[in-house]
């Protein structure tokens, strides 16, 4: 039972499948992604099925989250950003549920977003969509995004810096989510290890094992906040990048 803190992140195949040498097994990561999607669908099906005048709890939750994201898109990307509401809402809900489901104790829950490949895929989808939207809307004038409003002698250096910071967006978006989930879960496991080793040390030290336990309770509370916050930050940064692509440097 002396598992290191990294063992909870191991991906192992539940149903091994292979096509032409490529491993496409159904892993525990895939299982938890399916659980997340089923949970989201169930949540919205139950929420939307209530027909009473006074909304039920789940319907209120669904409407609150809907308005929350709609307001966020309207303030960050403007009214024409609302075209992307389904995409951003789906992204937010997936990341939120994936983060929160990883915190469920006792059932060896696997955090889908604690793997860089998952968060990198999501970030690359966002990045590709931003570029495609920008190019479709503005054509080659999209490249004006990298040309800030400065005197001519500063242009070469600043354009280079702008391009580099644009290209670092998917990287920072993915690593931010990945690092937060990884660090939180490692911290929880390490505190759990402290509880076990203090309790096993026997004698006077067994009573001290309550301290890491309180630490776990505090860190879990923090982790729920971080789960929600990281989903929200992912969504709002997507809106901000969309705003850059839709309105190149325009001021409202």
């Amino acid at each position: 039972m002396a598992a290191g803190p990294m063992e909870q992140f191991e991906v192992h195949a539940i149903v091994p499948l292979e096509i032409g040498g490529i491993d496409i097994s159904f892993t525990n990561s895939s299982l938890w992604m399916c659980i997340v999607v089923v949970a989201i669908s169930l949540f919205f099906t139950i929420a939307a099925s209530s027909r009473s005048i006074v909304p039920s709890h789940m319907r209120s939750l669904a409407e609150i989250s809907y308005n929350f994201i709609a307001d966020m898109i309207r303030s960050a990307a403007g009214s024409d950003g609302l075209r992307f509401f389904p995409f951003i809402y789906a992204l937010f809900m997936f990341v939120l549920f994936a983060n929160v489901f990883g915190l469920i104790p006792f059932i060896h829950a696997f955090t889908v977003t604690s793997h860089i490949i998952v968060t990198l895929t999501l970030a690359l989808v966002v990045f590709t969509m931003v570029i495609v939207v920008g190019v479709l809307k503005h054509g080659f004038r999209f490249l004006k995004l990298f040309v800030p409003d400065v005197p001519w002698y500063m242009l070469p250096l600043l354009t280079l810096i702008e391009v580099i910071s644009f290209l670092s967006r998917p990287l920072s978006l993915s690593v931010r989510l990945f690092a937060n989930m990884l660090a939180g879960h490692i911290m929880l496991t390490v505190f759990g290890g402290f509880v076990v080793s203090l309790a096993a040390a026997g004698g006077a030290l067994s009573f001290l094992s309550i301290a890491p336990m309180l630490g776990i309770i505090g860190v879990s509370a923090l982790e729920f906040l971080v789960a929600f916050l990281q989903a929200y930050v992912f969504a709002i940064l997507t809106c901000i990048y969309l705003n850059d692509a839709l309105h190149l440097h325009e001021h409202h």
Partner: protein, 74 residues
Amino acid sequence: MDVEAARFIGAGLATMALIGAGIGIGIVFGNFLSGALRNPGAAAGQTTNLLLGFALCEATGLFGLVVALIILFG
């Protein structure tokens, strides 16, 4: 020097990035608090920016932590 020993030293040094994260988060929340205590009515409208600033600051520190974990476990 042993590779294992160098790994541990490198991982320990890489976590020093979190000093910056701690200072930055303190600055963000401290400025929010001092502004909110002067103008409580406007504080509620800025909680969005507060949480966004906190998350971005924390993320930068965690980039350094990821390097430490890569050194330790990669």
